[in-house]
Every structure is written in C-alpha cells, then in structure tokens.
C-alpha cells in the first residue's frame, strides 16, 4: 500500500454558537485505508465527517482532500465533492426518481456522462449491490437495507476517491444491517479509501485498518482495531467500549 494522504485534517475546530463541538482534530487517511470512527453520542463524529466534504464549514483549521484545501475559498467545492462519496444514516435517496435515475442523475448533470453511459454504469453498480431487478422501483417501495444499498451505488457512480459513511446502518432493522455491511466490506476489500462512523464494533474490529475513538470533540485514542478495541489504553475508551458491549 502506497502512502498517499487522501484526506488530511489539521487542527480542525468547529463551533455551533457557543457549542465548541470539534476541538482541534488532526487526522490523515491514506489511500486504501479504512478508518472507523467510534465514540459516544454527541462527541462530534458526524460533524467531523461532514467537515470532510464541507457540509459543515469548519470554524478553524484545514481540510485537504486529494491535495485541495477545501477551506480555501478558491477551491471548487462542487468538483471536490464529486470525488467524495457520502452515505447518510437516513439514506436520502431522491424520492421522486426511480432507483436507476437516482444512480444516474449526478453522473449526467455533474460528470456530463451521456445517458447511455450513465445507465450502463448505473446498472453495473446496481448489480453489484444486488438490486438489478429494482432499477425501475421508487425508493418508497424498497426496504431500508435496499435503499441504503442504492445510496451506496449512487455515491459509487461518481467514481469517488474516498467514501464517507455516517452510521449507514443505524436506521436499519437488525436483520437488514448485514446486507449493507457486506457491501461496505466488499468495497474495503477492493481497496476503497473509507471513513466510517459506526456503532458496529464487529465491523470496526474486522474491517478497519485503523480505529479512531473520539470523545468531547477530540481524538482520544487511535490505532489498529486490536489496540483500540481489544486493549484500549485510555480509561474513556474502555468505559465507552464496555458500555457498547453491554447493549
């Protein structure tokens, strides 16, 4: 694995009014790495992830993705975002479009692919997430797990260099979690660079190349899954993990 930073975050701070949510985050993600971010509710995991594609504007610090400093006003954010895939807890499929159109619309409007090319790529990706036969269905006709797989295909259709997952399985019924995690695992196996906020400790333990534990807006501890999940050094990490494992 070459060491080329895809995402490089320096001294990232974010406040919402008086609420100082991120307090100086430094984080680098190398190409091909799968970084899982864990931590208690409200610790700033989503905010951190949303700063990586500038859905939240950092109050302070820099976010460099693929060599472009996104906090620099000269950077073309739309072009940068097209290379960063994002998957949301609530899927956020476009409800007025068919599954295939969901996967094709940004390819055509942003990447300017022809509709034939976009559909060809769209169909390949739907097949890959196991939803070929659903291409003309509408999101409301799909289960949560199916919707989330379409959302993943939609993001992949842009040929992203890095994928961000914000609790992609938290809104799913327990029996549907596996199908989404399997798709994510497949992506990781193929070498996709991924930043994954998750409560699925099993996924973090088995798939992550690195686990980052956050609390109170700072990175408390990071390292291999074996280090962070199985023999945490910090008391706060231990407390969080024992709490999670009880549930």
């Amino acid at each position: 694995m070459s060491t080329e930073a895809v995402v490089s975050i320096r001294n990232l701070n974010k406040s919402f009014g008086d609420n100082h949510v991120l307090r100086g985050i430094d984080l680098e993600v190398q190409r091909g790495e799968v970084v899982c971010i864990i931590g208690p509710s409200g610790s700033g995991k989503s905010t951190l992830l949303r700063c990586v594609n500038m859905l939240e504007t950092p109050s302070h610090g820099t976010v460099v993705v693929l060599g472009n400093d996104l906090t620099d006003l000269d950077t073309d954010l739309d072009a940068a975002r097209a290379q960063i895939g994002m998957v949301f807890q609530s899927f956020n499929l476009f409800p007025h479009m068919s599954v295939l159109d969901n996967v094709c619309v940004a390819q055509q409007k942003v990447l300017k692919r022809s509709s034939t090319d976009a559909q060809k790529i769209g169909r390949q990706l739907l097949e890959r997430v196991g939803l070929s036969e659903k291409e003309s269905a509408f999101p409301a006709q799909l289960s949560g797990g199916q919707q989330q797989r379409v959302a993943i295909a939609r993001a992949l259709a842009m040929n992203p260099q890095v994928m961000l997952f914000d609790e992609a399985t938290s809104a799913l019924d327990p029996e549907l979690v596996g199908e989404v995690l399997n798709v994510m695992r497949g992506l990781a196996d193929e070498g996709m660079t991924m930043l994954v906020v998750t409560h699925e400790m099993g996924f973090a333990a088995n798939v992550a190349s690195r686990v980052v534990f956050m609390d109170g807006g700072v990175i408390v501890e990071q390292g291999s899954p074996a280090q962070v999940i199985h023999s945490p050094k910090e008391e706060r990490t231990r407390a969080f993990l024992s709490n999670v494992q009880q549930h």
Binding site: L55, A79, A82, I84, F88, F94, A155, M158
Partner: protein, 263 residues
Amino acid sequence: MAISKRKRAQYIRFGVYALSIALVVAVVLIVDWSRLQGAMFRWDLVKKQFPGLLTTAARNTIIFTILGFAGGLALGLFLALLRLSRARAYRWFAATYIEIFRGIPLVVTLLILGFGIPIAFQWQWPNPYLRGAVPLALVAAAYMAETIRAGIQAVPQGQMEAARSLGMSYSRAMATVIIPQAMRIIIPPLTNEFVLLIKDTSLISILGVTEGTIDLARYGRNGVFDSANSTPLIVAGLAYLVMTLPLTQLVAYMERRQKASGR
C-alpha cells in the same frame, strides 16, 4: 332534570335541521318566482350573451389570468429563492416586496401602475393586456412566493445535502432535486391561487376597457346597462363558476390523495 350531553347534541342537531327545512320552504312559498326570473334570468337575454361571452369576455378573462399567473409564478419563485438565500440583503428585499404587495389592495396597485406610473413618466403601456396583467402578476407573486418558500422548506434538509455531496451546485440541486419535490406540496395551494386570480381579473376593468379587452365581469355589467335586467350578470357569474368549480374540486381531490399517501 338532567339530560345527557349526547342526547342534548342530538336534539340540537334535530332542531337545526327542522329550522333549515322550514326556512327553505318559506323562501320557496314567499318568493314570486316568475317575477324573479323576469328580473334575473330571462332566456332571451341569456341567449343574447352568446357568442360574445365566450369569444371575447371569457377569452380575455382567461388571457389575463394566465398572464398574471405565469408572471406571478416566475417572479414568485425568484422571490422565494431570495427569501431562502444566505445573503441577508436578498432576504430583506424579498420580505419587503412581499409585505408591500400583500399589504396594498389590488385595486390600488392596479390604479398606480395603470394610471399613476404612465402619467408620472410620460409613458404608455405597450399593450392593454400587459397593463392589466402586470399589476396582477406583481401582487400574485407576493402570495405565491410565500407558498413556494413553504413548499421548498418542507423538503427534508437531507435532500439538499445528498445532492450537494454528489457534486451538484446549489442551483442544480434546487432545480433537479428540491423544486420537483416541493411542487407536490405547492400545486394545490397554487391552484387555489389560480382560482383567486380568475376572480381578481374582474378588477382590471377599472382601468377602462376597449371592445377587445373586455372581461367577463365588465361584459356582464355592460349587459345590465344595455338591458336594464340582471340576467347578463347572472350569466357572467355562472361562467366564472364553470371555470373555478372544476379547479376547486381538483384541489380537494389532490389534497385527499396527499392525505391518503401520508404526506
């Protein structure tokens, strides 16, 4: 003597029904129907309204309505987007516009734009249809802007975020993701707005009319002056109903359907 609440409600309902029926019967008996028909619904005069009612009056009412609606919709959409803009000055401009045009009666706006401005600037409206439809559109835009803004805001925030995270610009996301979804919510109230506009076009004739631009209401009034009989107005009123009733029924249908589909 205690009487249960439900029984009392039943008695009251029965009383109201009985009273209503008595009232209808009284009206039917008291009114001199042939005289009423003679003053308000004479067949020969009904026939005399045609074909001018259709070929000129109704046609002009529809032209004014469509011009006013199309202009109002375009400007209303623009104002709604300004209202939702991040720039405070834009929001302020749109809010001020909306307050001004909703706060002034249409008649006053019509007179100012139809007479006041042309006199002040030594200028003439290039077209009598525009002279009536532009003020109508300016006022309609203020109402539509609020409707459209509410519709856009009803689309979940996550939709914009998903579109932006795919690399769409703000305006691209608005056009392909947000506004099509907002439309579902907006169409019933906009149809109501259309119905209001149909009726509001009846005010345009205070600017004066030519033979060619006469609208339904003025056509009816002129008919009354000519015949010294109310029949032409009744016919005009019925013509309005023919246009508005299907639309209000359509709105009711759309609202029932949206309720059923849970949105």
